[in-house]
Symmetry: D2
Amino acid sequence: MNTTDIRDLTSLRDALREFADARDWRQFHTPKNLAMAMIVEAAELVEHFQWLTPEQSRALPPETLAAARDEVADTLIYLVELADALDIDLIAAARAKMAKNAIKYPPSENIE
Amino acid sequence: MNTTDIRDLTSLRDALREFADARDWRQFHTPKNLAMAMIVEAAELVEHFQWLTPEQSRALPPETLAAARDEVADTLIYLVELADALDIDLIAAARAKMAKNAIKYPPSENIE
Amino acid sequence: MNTTDIRDLTSLRDALREFADARDWRQFHTPKNLAMAMIVEAAELVEHFQWLTPEQSRALPPETLAAARDEVADTLIYLVELADALDIDLIAAARAKMAKNAIKYPPSENIE
Amino acid sequence: MNTTDIRDLTSLRDALREFADARDWRQFHTPKNLAMAMIVEAAELVEHFQWLTPEQSRALPPETLAAARDEVADTLIYLVELADALDIDLIAAARAKMAKNAIKYPPSENIE
């Protein structure tokens, strides 16, 4: 697969399967290991923000933003691989969770 | 927006914007705070796997899998909100990262 | 060992060894698993702070502080168990790291 | 303070206060930021273990062990700074948590 074919979560998942197979990496891709890899990438994102004020975190300098973009991508990549290993449909899972959240957190009342 | 309209990352992002606005939560959604929230959800995933053998992690009992599905969804939700707050296109970022990875990690040679 | 005997990192380590042995938990205590357990506890700490302003994080309400105290303790407990599993002397490691940091980050100049 | 004076958690805390003051770093050391810094160090530890088998994690090569020792130290350093910022006595907190755990998890029965 050419990476230009990655257009959504399904094609990203397929590209990741092909990528791992071509390198014989599936043997390492237990859900346990993928969850670890994902939190490590999430921490690399957190690291960019740890000493920033709330305002600074909203206005990253270009190099930090470019680095954060890579970390965001890595987190998504491991999340997609983890979901695949667990046979979870990410969008369906998010849809179900949003429906639960809508019940758990009713919208604010309009105060008028 | 009805949650049944969530079919991809773009409609998920739109649903999350609407959800946050209806609850006046945008004020809390700095990139710094969203990165923290995301790593907390990632850790809830890790927690399910911490004492499991590699084999056990590949064969979760149904209740653990259902819980992991919720945690996977929560991680995706915060990742989408973080990317939105940073104005990052998640799929484009993943595509660019995959292209980098293909150069960084060439496929294994066939040994014959 | 009585928990009242815990007075420093060495007696804490000894109490943790005894505690794990009495429950047959050593089999689960690989460095890999302990590192996972530690980051999960660290995330439970992070969770208390994720939506707080910097100022709010300096002035936790009593119940949040009590919960944070338990999470701080859990993080220390797994850190001590991890160091023990790797045969690392925590205080000697911190001393060596502080010596490195003193060279890496020279003190600010007095500007007068 | 000379780093050779670091012999326990109290002298480590004192050395860290002095170190931060000499660099004017206290302004960044909110509990929120310190919790973030701590989880980032914890993740650097996790990273060493993410692709290892349980057995491999028990027998790290010397360079990995040396790197892990630095990460263990960094995690302890931020944990001590966080506890200090929250005015938590780490050893007392661990002692209290161990007493709770002893009740929550009774020792295994001898089966005879």
